[in-house]
């Protein structure tokens, strides 16, 4: 199958997931992503390099499972940006690249002289995508973030929780995933613009802004109606103003749960029949307004049915009735036993030079003519330095040896 982005080269300074996730997507569609790391600190700016999880008992900068997951299909080189010769090498790379990507704190690239203006001198139609918590403009531009801070500041953490409990947060860096997804969306949109106009541009992505943009109806409820989410009984994110029953209920076993959502009166009617509900309750809860008003009672009725049952039995019975239902799947269940992930090919196996074969996250899309593919693991530290210097930048063996000897790469 054709690899649709194989004509693109990315000069990639990203790391963690918020940045690396963007260039991972481009690499999966065939773009040549050249990830640049620091040889002095052994790439440790990316805290995932060499960090958990590990496939076996071995440890080291090349053996981190998360780093492998986020950097599949990329080339990896080391360049010491403290050295003028190192900066010159990067400038040579930018001259032949389509996109420069980074998710450093504000000012790091500029500190190397790599302002957007300088990049445009090197490559007039360059696309430069920067990604940080608060963006390169505004009062908080110098503030530091990581996923949980982004989610706290943008409203996502507050929006997720049960009444009278603390914010539940998200349980992981949701906005690191979407930092990468927004970033790659912006890069591809800018490539479309460049195709039509010949013009490159700079994209300033602030992940706190991106996160807040994912809370649209709640924000409009405030700007139109003055309704604040910070009020008694709110948020209540397992419930819905538009459906009832609509919650996550306990099932038989340890920490076993099932989600059930009745979208319509007809679905509720089928559920009530299945639960063999008494005539009084059926009549009382025939409309959504009444079900919402009696939600606590309704939840106790559903819970008394689910709590003695296996969660997958509940899911199967209700899906057969056309009622949305899903077991809260544990990682091994959704990875190893769910046909909707295995049939999708969602967990491809890549070969990593040091780790060997490892399964990784795939993508939520498939393209009929130009699909993604993931077969190569993340690069070991500096794994492709000599290859890139020789084959892409055209340096001789002697020049490369001198760069090693001088601590430039």
């Amino acid at each position: 199958m054709a690899r649709p982005l194989s004509h693109l080269r990315i000069c990639d300074f990203t790391g963690q997931l918020a940045g690396a996730g963007a260039t991972r997507f481009l690499a999966a569609f065939g773009a040549q992503v050249i990830r640049i790391e620091d040889p002095v600190r052994k790439g440790s700016w990316d805290i995932l390099r060499g960090n958990t999880p590990y496939k076996d008992e071995r440890r080291g900068v090349d053996l981190g499972g998360a780093f492998n997951n986020h950097n599949v299909e990329k080339l990896g080189i080391t360049i010491n940006m403290r050295e003028q010769r190192g900066i010159e090498l990067v400038e040579d790379l930018i001259r032949i690249s389509d996109v420069v990507t980074e998710n450093f704190a504000v000012g790091v690239l500029a500190g190397w002289g790599l302002t957007f203006e300088r990049m445009r001198e090197l490559k007039p139609d360059i696309i430069y995508a920067s990604n940080c918590g608060f963006g390169h403009r505004g009062p908080y531009r110098n503030y530091k973030t990581w996923g949980p801070i982004v989610q706290a500041v943008c409203g996502l953490t507050f929006s997720s929780g049960l009444p009278d409990q603390l914010p539940a947060g998200w349980g992981y860096s949701y906005m690191d995933h979407h930092g990468g997804n927004f970033m790659v969306t912006a890069i591809l949109a800018a490539l479309v613009h460049r195709h039509k106009t010949g013009e490159g541009q700079w994209i300033d992505l602030a992940t706190t802004e991106a996160g807040a943009s994912l809370l649209g109806p709640a924000i409009l409820d405030y700007t139109v109606n003055g309704t604040r989410m910070r009020r008694d009984g709110s948020p209540d994110s397992n419930h819905s103003p538009d459906m009832a029953p609509h919650a996550i209920y306990p099932c038989f076993g340890d920490d076993e749960w099932v989600a059930i959502a009745c979208r319509t009166d007809a679905e509720w009617d089928r559920l009530a029949t299945h639960l063999d509900l008494d005539a009084d309750r059926r009549a009382r809860y025939s409309t959504l307004a009444h079900r919402l008003a009696g939600q606590d009672d309704l939840d106790s009725v559903v819970l008394s049915w689910t709590q003695t049952r296996n969660k997958f039995d509940v899911q199967r019975e209700l899906l057969a009735l056309g009622i949305p239902s899903a077991a809260v799947q544990k990682p091994h269940e959704r990875v190893d036993s769910d046909p909707a992930t295995s049939e999708w090919g969602l967990w491809p196996t890549v070969t990593h030079t040091a780790m060997g074969e490892v399964r990784v996250d795939g993508l939520g899309s498939h393209l009929s003519e130009t699909d993604w593919s993931m077969t190569k693991g993340a690069p070991c530290l500096g794994e492709h330095t000599d290859h890139v210097l020789a084959e892409i930048l055209g340096l001789s063996a002697a020049e490369i040896a001198a760069l090693h000897a001088d601590g430039v790469v």
Partner: protein, 423 residues
Amino acid sequence: MNTRANAAPIGPIAPADAPGPLAGLRVVELASEWTSYAGRLLGDLGATVVLVEPSSGSPLRAYGPFVHGVQDPENSLWWWHYQANKFGQSMDLESAEGREQLHSLIRSADVFLEGADRDQFEALGLADDELRREHQSLIVLSITPFGRRTSRTDDPATDLTILAGAGPAWSCGYDDHSLPPVRGGGNQSIHTAGLHAVPALLVAVLHRYTSGLGQHVDVSAHAASNVTTEAGSYEWLVAKNTVQRQTARHAGVQKSDPTIAFDRNGRTVFTGVPPRSQADLERIVAWIDALELRDEFPDVVLLELGIERGGITWPEIFADELCGQIFAAGRTALTLIASRVTDREFFIGGQERGFTVGVINAPEDVMEDAHFAERGFHARLFHEELGRDVIYPGTPMQFGASPWRLVRRAPRVGEHNGRSLDT
């Protein structure tokens, strides 16, 4: 205070009326919950999006909240948000004439965006391969709960059930596991599907520039959310470990320390990772002194011991008892400081001193925050029915040449009937 230089030169900002990066791309969207966000994002980036709904109006117009709480198909703020920047056409999709109208519209489009149930899809005569046989450059983008290619394609689903089945809910909740796992708020499975769909579509658009050919882009909300769980998936894939949920922290294989503290008004703040370097320890001691808290915080001596020994490292925290105590004292110090100031003072004061701490904003707080306002996150649209501008959340990404723009409120039922995609 923060002495770091703000040296980054600021590049150009696109003129507000410049065309978006996808200007000229013609999209027909068959109204569906699953396509709503992707269609909106395409419209925001300059594509011409025509939203097709039944003559009676889309059932999605019944989603709240509503303007002034009045339930009406034209009052849904869900609809206002997700269908802005789209033109709207209504047709009788039950009739042969209506179906032909839809087919004719699709024939004039570059992209057909749909998330229909399979029955509805087939009843409309919209089988993907047939559409593309007669229109070879058409890109069909399907966004459905389980994808068109899996055996679960007909399973009904909502945002709640996708987030439950796909992993996010397993990781989100509380230390107390007698409380249920939590659905992250705000229709996030639809956003996640959209954020997998739009870049995939743009790959197809770029491919069409060179090949002239369209294709089918199949997106599964379930698959997209499955690979949006960070360690939830890869701890199992790599090491067969299962993460466990923890209150407002990363679900983990190992338990971590609490990170939430309360400000002087009982609001929550995020304390992040306590100080470890000598300079950070000096700064937190100075903050304690600035707030005159030294007398009620005897553990300040531990922080000073940390300064004397030149800071502490991660391995030392676990291996050396004193270093562990210094680290714990840093968290206690942040918790104490938080309790004496407002949540915003804690956030600003901490960040200005170089600590990665956060305020836990509600959505309304974001819209009252000067940083977001100064960056232009308040996008205004005039609503004639209210006689005023409404402030929407603004751009998630700022383009230097071809801007994200909000130019059109969501369509009323049938508002742009008869309009061609080229006008």
